[in-house]
Subunit: 345 residues, 2 copies
């Protein structure tokens, strides 16, 4: 009996040792992690939704993969040079905002009135300071204006014309609305107007376009940022989760940095980004467990669709989503950027 | 030995029984609580800040106490008649919005441009649905518009002119800006303009006017609402915490209902209202412990001033604040309304 127990214990111990070795080795799927103070990390998303191979042309898929790779390399160059997580987040999002591929900046969708109204927010995990703008129409890079709000005003959230007056006072150039015109988004609006009458604005089946970046720099500081054009056919000055600190964006050196993309109303009601931090801090969950709990359990329980990207202070990352796809990718120090689109990747 | 243990057990048991009796008895200071399915509860605030006896006239103090008592009685009448927590929250806040005493609705402060721009939000703890409006100028009762956003739109947060177009489509009357003119708030703006040049907008020393209500109805449902005129000399379309779900307002039947008042930027960065819920749910803290932890420890650590009112599903209440005063009060089923202003009450 004693012998049997000892043997069982030995078997268990060997099993545990193997598990520990496997978990610590690099490149294991589902356990992307790095250790050590000198390692940085970067995760990006370009929106989640009903993204499927059958709705994608090879050319378009290649364009998305190339731009997401560019973005990760941009972030790596900032972080390799010793740049801050905040600088990396802003630089990467600027690059995505300047691309017509994503629903943010240049590629923003149109409102029901045929205008473009953009939202963005950024948060510094070191100070837990934050900045956000909602409903701006003439700002080429809303994430950069959100950063100015954070650093150059006593406020966290500015909106509409007022936010643009602040931008002007800070020396930021305004762009005309025509800057945001893209044929693809205009056709989406026209199609949506034809469908209208049958339903209200906002549908869980739509593609949730938004861009976001979270980063850990070599000093161990975290930052998160999110930028979006909102929903096609957006009405009534609707504000989604992207500019709402705690919902679309959150960063705290103590826990993690998170950027969300999805059906914004559900992300606000679930306080998604902060909830992931709270479950790490108060329940002792890992980043991966906390992010999965919120995106795969709590959010769908209310009916919410979408995903998040997240990174913790040890460089562990998570990219859960409950839709068929999410444009996403990550890059760790000395690693090749990894880009994914579909759920089965 | 057996005998000794039995005796010890008896002593312990008697102690526990006494403790239980004490806890269940009404009127114990620091343990405002009620049990049983038929008991409702209601807590209100009318803003926190540098409220001191030396800056207060007897007439003004009496007016505040009378209006806060009216508000509690209004809520009691709704809840006694079997009305929902949501109805109580809306009715009580309507009454406070219609009074010139508070910085919400009629008594809203002026922006730097001499306009009035109001924010409000409401959340239903049963469904965790929510509604909010930011920067509305022609809405007499912003909390009622927030409720319409929650119940009659697929959105959570609407802003500016768009929110007012939605209000009109819902049959809500718009009021002219002159409705919000009060001599007292206009003088505050004039004084502030004279002071300007010396400092930026926003000061922790200011009075944080906002109104809020949290309620538990006889069906065990929780609701929370908050309404404000923002800060005097508000600029750039600034949005504070009041319309931000998770920051200024949060309700969840599983935990609690919370409404905040204070220097809004710090409440957004700390995700104050949801953090109280999260500390109850994930750390197992009581309502009182969670609210005190956030308002007396975490918020001041970043430099934030203000307070919250909160109620849990058992009718326990909390009203912590870290300023010299907070207009506040509560009413429990079959109880007389209790109103307080200063810290030493």
């Amino acid at each position: 009996m004693v012998r049997k127990t000892t043997k069982r214990f030995q078997t268990l111990a060997i099993g545990w040792m193997l598990a520990v070795i496997v978990c610590l080795s690099p490149g294991i799927p589902g356990a992307v992690a790095q250790e050590g103070p000198a390692g940085y990390g970067l995760v990006i998303h370009g929106g989640a939704g009903t993204i499927s191979r059958k709705n994608m042309t090879p050319e378009r898929e290649a364009a998305y993969r190339a731009k997401l790779t560019d973005a990760l390399e941009k972030g790596q160059s900032v972080l390799t040079a010793g740049g801050s997580a905040l600088n990396a987040v802003e630089a990467v999002i600027n690059l995505l905002e300047d691309s017509p591929l994503f629903n943010a900046g240049k590629g923003a969708v149109f409102t029901a009135q045929g205008t473009n109204e953009l939202d963005a927010s950024i948060m510094d995990g070191r100070t837990r300071n934050a900045g956000a703008v909602a409903g701006v129409r003439h700002i080429r890079n809303p994430i950069s204006l959100a950063r100015l709000v954070m650093e150059k005003s006593p406020h966290v959230m500015l909106s509409g014309d007022g936010a643009e007056i602040f931008a002007g006072l800070q020396g930021m150039d305004l762009v005309p609305q025509s800057y945001f015109f893209t044929r693809r988004r205009w056709e989406s609006l026209r199609q949506r107007i034809r469908q209208e009458g049958a339903r209200q604005s906002g549908s869980a089946a739509e593609e949730h376009g938004t861009v976001g970046t979270v980063a850990l720099d070599r000093d161990g500081n975290l930052a998160a940022g999110t930028s979006t054009g909102g929903m096609t056919y957006k009405q009534y000055g609707r504000i989604g989760d992207s500019p709402v600190i705690g919902a679309g964006t959150y960063a705290n050196n103590k826990t993690c940095a998170v950027s969300a993309t999805g059906y914004g109303e559900y992300f606000i009601r679930n306080v998604v980004s902060y909830d992931i931090s709270a479950q790490m801090e108060y329940r002792g969950l890992s980043l991966r467990e906390a992010a999965a709990e919120v995106i795969m359990n709590k959010l769908p329980a209310l009916g919410g669709t979408g995903g998040v990207i997240a990174i913790d202070a040890n460089g562990n990352i998570a990219m859960p989503f409950n839709t068929s796809g999410m444009y996403r990718g990550y890059a760790l120090e000395n690693g090749t950027p990894v880009v994914k689109i579909y759920r089965d990747e």
